[in-house]
């Protein structure tokens, strides 16, 4: 008779035991590929400490089209709370456009279409922060798709200078800021607000103070009550089974190779070879065809995706990574193991997880009026 340990039962039990043992360990990603909750503290530069006066002034400036060359577009036009402070279209329509989001269209004058997708302003206060315990560097925070500027203060002024964004055709690049300063100085409400925010002086309205006020307001545009953050703080019920499984799949598939840390971004430049839009010239990114890893915070509210808005859905993005992107272009792409079924459950669970970091708790208040008396947010109707 066959000895029991050599019988199929014995072998089966041995196999079962080895299976149980093999499946006991946790999946443990590398420390630099771990996602975390948002930090408690918003970093701010030493020379631009937040104050309620600055934030209130920054909110006006953010919504006031007086900052644009032709007084028809504001920061909020392409960074609107209805679209989680992005604009919901592939390439933004700058000055000369009319309407909001996907309904924005050419007006009477020729509109300017920007070259890149509008990034959300939400949570940019933490740009550059790649670890929960990192203090952050507000002065060195990378901005824009190509990280060409550092800090919200620098970023806030740049769209004013761009012809296809806010400057338009009438004013030269070196003329727009003096013109804006002149306009603001002529409005008593702005004059007193700048004095309140930055102290009385001979000329409180400057390029720097405009940038600082807008940056101070942008630092308040945070969404820090996501179910993922609550889960990481200890609320076990904050995530569903599908969301937890989505997080597991997110880490296992290698998404966190680049989308790591509290902002789900390593804030590094990567070359992905995302196809250009039909009929548009190639975008060389930082000059070497590299673009910064965007944060995935609020990603489900900020479609379309990639630097040119090429992909309309997360499933399109995954399809793009799986089928269209050359994984040899960037070292971080080599370890990708994307779900390869665009209708599959794993992708559905990853989407469910991404909803857990897409938090609707941000400040979505729209001012009823701005000191210039112009249309709040530009020509949005």
């Amino acid at each position: 008779m066959t000895p029991p340990f050599l019988s199929p039962i014995g072998l089966g039990l041995a196999l079962a035991c080895s299976l149980i043992g093999a499946g006991c360990g946790a999946f443990e990603p590398a420390p630099e590929e771990v996602v975390t909750a948002l930090p408690d503290v918003v970093p701010e530069p030493a020379d631009n400490v937040m104050s309620p006066e600055k934030v209130a002034l920054g909110r006006w400036l953010f919504w006031d089209p007086i900052l644009s060359g032709e007084r028809d577009i504001a920061c909020a036009t392409c960074h609107h709370p209805r679209f989680a402070y992005a604009d919901g279209i592939a390439l933004s329509v700058g000055t000369g456009g009319r309407g909001l989001g996907p309904q924005r269209s050419p007006a009477t004058t020729a509109p300017h279409r920007t070259r890149r997708n509008s990034m959300t302003v939400l949570d940019t206060a933490w740009n550059g922060v790649t670890a929960l315990d990192s203090p952050g560097d507000a002065d060195g925070a990378p901005m824009f798709w190509d990280s060409r500027l550092k800090s919200l203060e620098e970023q806030a002024l740049r769209p004013l200078l761009e012809q296809d964004e806010m400057r338009g055709d009438v004013l030269a690049e070196d003329a727009i800021l003096p013109e804006v300063i002149g306009r603001l100085s002529a409005i008593p409400e702005y004059e007193s607000s700048f004095a309140l925010a930055f102290g009385p002086g001979p000329s409180p309205i400057t390029e720097e103070s405009i940038g600082r006020a807008i940056a101070a307001f942008e630092r308040t545009l945070v969404a820090r009550d996501s179910s993922f953050d609550r889960f990481m703080a200890g609320d076990e019920a904050a995530l569903s089974f599908a969301q937890k499984r989505g997080l597991f799949a997110f880490e296992q598939a290698g998404c966190a190779n680049c989308h790591s840390g509290p902002l789900f971004s390593d804030f590094e430049l990567h070359r992905l070879g995302v196809p250009d839009l039909d009929g548009l010239p190639q975008d060389a990114g930082d000059g070497d065809e590299r673009f910064r890893t965007p944060s995935l915070r609020n990603v489900m509210r900020t479609a379309p995706y990639m630097h040119n808005g090429r992909f309309e859905t997360i499933r399109d993005v995954v399809d793009g990574f799986y089928f269209h992107v050359d994984h040899g272009l960037d070292p971080d792409l080599e370890g990708l193991d994307c779900p390869n079924d665009r209708d599959g459950a794993t992708l559905g669970d990853i989407e469910a997880f991404l909803w857990s970091i897409s938090d609707g708790s941000f400040d979505d208040a729209v001012p009823s009026a701005v000191p210039s008396g112009l249309e709040v947010g530009g020509r949005l109707d």
Binding site: F241, F248, N340, A345
Partner: protein
């Protein structure tokens, strides 16, 4: 009346129960007193998980009873209890099933057989992710219905080599399928 045959004690009782079941069912008009207990172990390859191409390897153990009800080597009722496990890095999927099926032995001189089966299945799914300092783990149990098709060969009247494809449909709010192939080596006790 079959001679008592024992293996691990319990198997004899299991065989007697099977004979009693056959008598109750009345499905054995020729009243054969042959019931075979088949114990098997083998490998499993998960091809689909929730409708997605997957490809993880696992293992399986199976205990079954075959009851003849029309001829020595023709048609048989097969009852199976089976456990299949798919472990991977940080995750496990276990599938335990009870199935009833039909087996057909077309050639009297050969152990060639094929069959189909269906039943009830419980799946246990668990994953664990270490995101320092937070450890994330969760599990769930779901009810499903397995459908299986098997071809195989019985060698020397004792050793079974079976290849099975099994498709599991889950009930509830997540009705997604799992599909896997099984290669089982079994031993028959009479």
């Amino acid at each position: 009346v079959p001679k008592p045959h024992t293996f691990f004690g319990g198997l004899a009782a299991e065989r007697r129960s099977a004979l009693a079941l056959a008598a109750v069912l009345g499905a054995c008009p020729q009243a054969h007193a042959e019931a075979e207990v088949v114990v098997a172990a083998g490998a499993a390859i998960q091809v689909l998980q929730y409708q997605e191409a997957y490809g993880s390897a696992g293992g399986a153990i199976d205990s079954g009873i075959e009851l003849m009800f029309r001829g020595r080597r023709a048609h048989r009722l097969r009852l199976d209890a089976q456990l299949v496990g798919f472990p991977s890095d940080g995750a496990q999927l276990w599938l335990g099933s009870l199935e009833a099926g039909w087996r057909w032995y077309p050639l009297a001189s050969s152990g060639l057989h094929c069959g189909v089966a269906a039943g009830l299945l419980l799946s246990y799914e668990r994953f664990e992710l270490a995101l320092a300092p937070r450890r994330i783990e969760d599990s769930r149990v779901r009810l499903g219905a397995p459908l299986a098709a098997t071809v195989g060969w019985t060698l020397g009247d004792r050793l079974d080599v079976d290849v099975t494809w099994k498709q599991v449909v889950f009930v509830g709010d997540d009705p997604r399928t799992v599909g896997y192939g099984l290669i089982l080596l079994g031993w028959r006790f009479r």
